[in-house]
Amino acid sequence: MSCSPLWVNTPDRSGKRTATGPACHIRRISGCDPACLPGEGRSSFTFSASCNSVEKKIYVHLNYTVPCVRLLNATHQIGCQSSLSGDVGVLHVLESEENLDWVLSSGPNPPYMVILESSLFTRSVMMKLKNGSSRVAGIVVVAPNTNPVEGFSPHTSCPNENTGVYSESYDPTLAHCNVTVWNPLGNGLSYEEYDFPIFSLKDDNDTQVIRQCYLNHNQAVNGSSPRYPLCAMQLYSHMSAVTDTATCMRRNDINFSISPEMVCDPLGDFNVWASTRPLNNTEKGHKMWEKVVIAAARLDSRSFFFDVAPGAESGASGFITLLAAAHALRNVTQEAQPNRTIFYTFFQGVSSFHTIVLNTAHCVHAKYNSVLPLLLMFFCFADDYIVCILCIKHFNDLFQVRKLIENLQSAAAGLGFTVGEAGFSQPLPPSSFQRFLRARQIPGVVIENHQLNFTNRYYESMYDNAEYLNVSYPPNLTPEEQLKFVTDTAKALTEVATMVARALYVQAGGAENQQDNINADRQIVSQMLYGFLVRSNNSWFQQLIPSDLTSHLSKLILNYTSSEPTLLVQYLLANLTGSAINITQENCQNQREDENDKESKHMFTYMWVQGAAPPNNTKREGFCVRSTVRLSRAVSPAFELRDYTSKDYSTWTESRWKSIKGRIFLVASHELEMLTLGVGVGVLLASLLLTYIISSKADILFSSGREPT
């Protein structure tokens, strides 16, 4: 439970995604564009513009490329790989699934680089392409501007199948989704291995250039093969790690050179947690048999492509609701402290991709000895007005669970929705709660917005975004106005947050008559939705973070790296559950209230945030926030125990890479290239011969005035 420094992506790992600029060659001795060599005037091809470098004549670089990357676990590798010098393929825009025949067998110019529209990005097409991979150089998926209507989920249909609580040894009838298939739209594409690169491009002008190039050069006319030169594309996404986690971790440890190169990184980040009552960080502060109530949400999300994982319904709606509930409880827990402490926890690694083991196991691992037993309440995500609660079977504390459910139902009474209860035959949906249950039997509840299977049609895909949650704003609003506007989704989530807060309070032993004072603030919920799903670089978030982190916010919207929500959630939780205190910046940053204070840092966390600028001034007035928010490392215990083939703990790692880029150009026919080489060799040989003859006869040829007359 220590406050270790944030672990952000190392620069090597996150690879560049923008195009590299054209190389500056010898030609540009007097400076790059527009100067060119005046000696021969050869480069003045276009008089309208100034001289171009040769590379610009040949290649068009792709600006926005999102690759699929390679991930490894104890036994497999999944994801994509390109060759070290990039994969070159002739472009082909796939029109239908039957058109695959051209790519896989009848096309005369393999290998092909297949351009897929999102409607063709299905399991059957991808499996056929994967099997014909000798003729496939790569795949480019054009992501549409609006979400596909039929839904798309690259995750498996049974998430967290082998890592949950149901297994062969415990309730096998409910294991492996025998009763409920949670993600029926799941096609499992994320878990396949491809040996060609797969990129995603936006449907914008650059992609239109690609399509136009295809139409101009590559279209087969009346069944005859298209003539050279053909339009081709090259994609670079070489991944350094291979085989499985044990291999790549072993290669990480090789230290032969001065700067040893890492080939992969274990997946991990930080969990964020806070408590209503400050807890002493050191060992002495824990009391045995102390009961706590935990409310948890998940922070992370994943998609098929790297780094485009908004996780709106699967993650963001959940943690936003919990943040709002924490805020709703702030005042009442300070005035009328309930008996038991409430923990607000935000877990990383819940997506079944690195399985829920990631950190909850670690949490149980560490907490097992200190605080027990735990009374748990979980929720995953919430949307809509119907919320279901799922029941837990076979637990001794069934009475406790009953009480939990009753609390929730009474809390929901008077709000705009109903809480339903799933039957006993229904298994628990995949959630971090299952991981706790694997370790010990704890009463708890999972709150979802569906009864049977996920209603999320875009589970763990890049389409799970603001548009899917209906977070929409009237047109012609400035960003500030959008920030302040309360959407319907925000209103719905606020209701749920109120219910959760009230139930938490009662469960923790608070007085029931205080319930009506506990209300979540819909303005805050709306601002959080805007900040996490639309634009994180807004004025409210700017106030809550310290000044050296403002550059983190100014990334692209919807560019959701793993450390960004952690940071934001940490500071938001501090702001919403903590209080501003009046101490100097120096004291604040040294975690003390005054010079002699040595104890406060064990109980509280102090953060200096930059605050808002007063209306008549441009300089921001910072202040110190004191809260009980802490971070804990979310790395699989397999990496701490160095057991890389572990079956109990997650062993997922992500490969490192050097460069991620793509470019399009024309390719000439092989015959023309050989002809050029032939002509060159011929010229060389002819000139060698001629020169030999002339130099051997030079004295005769050039001897003037010595002929015998």
Binding site: H25, I26, E40, K57, E673, G680, V683, P708
Partner: protein
């Protein structure tokens, strides 16, 4: 395009120059020095002309296309004149150093005319090597990649035509060197002017690109004409050529020896 195109274009552009270097220059260290000195003089002329070019481009209005085109023409003309000026400077330098060089050289067995010819054409070839290198090396570097020119609508034959042009330029520089030095020696200033004008002509022909036919064919015609002129000013004649070709040279040599 690929390695095949890279090597093909390299051989086309530098083939004759490499052959000449191998068979006539590589064995004599003094000749290598002359070659490199010639290359250096060309480099200095390029430096000066690019300095002027750089300054004028910075001063100019970058948006006006007509001005940029005019600037380009001015740059080409200036560069040609500077190159010829430096060729003259090299001639002067060699003349001054002639006696000393003769003492150093091991070419006493060679007839004087050959020695002189060697001197002249080496300076020309030095100019040619350097000029060719600057013209074509960055194009060759880009030809190694998988793509060929054309995605923006340019002609596909860019690499090939650049290579042929470079070959012509290198050979032309060699011929110009011979003619120029000979003309300076014999004080025939009209010949010097002709060399300068033909250089200007060839450089301006490149403005015809991308119409490669219109630029390459006249260039090769000029190359042929200059070659003939250089042959004659080097001491060759039609008779010598006929003798050579019909293999009557042995008798000729013997006759020569007897007559001495």
């Amino acid at each position: 395009m690929t390695a095949a195109v890279f090597f093909g274009c390299t051989f086309i552009a530098f083939g004759p120059a490499i052959a000449l270097f191998l068979f006539t220059i590589a064995r004599e260290p003094l000749r290598v020095i002359f070659l490199i000195a010639g290359a250096f003089f060309w480099l200095v002329s390029l430096l000066l002309s690019s300095l002027v070019w750089f300054i004028s481009v910075q001063i100019s209005n970058k948006d006006s296309a007509a001005q940029q085109k005019g600037l380009l023409i001015f740059g080409v003309v200036l560069s040609v004149l500077l190159q010829e000026t430096f060729r003259f400077a090299y001639y002067k330098l060699l003349k001054k150093a002639n006696e000393g060089l003769l003492a150093l050289s091991q070419e006493e067995t060679m007839p004087i005319s050959i020695r002189q010819l060697a001197l002249r054409y080496m300076s020309g070839l030095g100019f040619g090597f350097m000029s060719g290198a600057f013209s074509v090396v960055n194009i060759l570097a880009d030809s190694v990649g998988p793509g060929t020119v054309g995605i923006h609508g340019d002609s596909q034959h860019y690499f090939l035509s650049s290579a042929f042009m470079t070959m012509a330029i290198i050979l032309l520089h060699m011929f110009w060197g011979v003619v120029f030095f000979d003309a300076c020696e014999k004080q025939r200033w009209w010949a010097v002017a002709a060399v300068v004008i033909s250089h200007l002509l060839v450089s301006c022909l490149t403005f015809q690109n991308p119409d490669y036919v219109a630029s390459l064919i006249p260039t090769y015609v000029i190359l042929f004409l200059m070659g003939v002129w250089a042959f004659y000013s080097a001491g060759g004649s039609l008779r010598n050529l006929k003798l050579c070709l019909t293999c009557k040279d042995k008798d000729f040599l013997l006759a020569n020896h007897r007559s001495r």
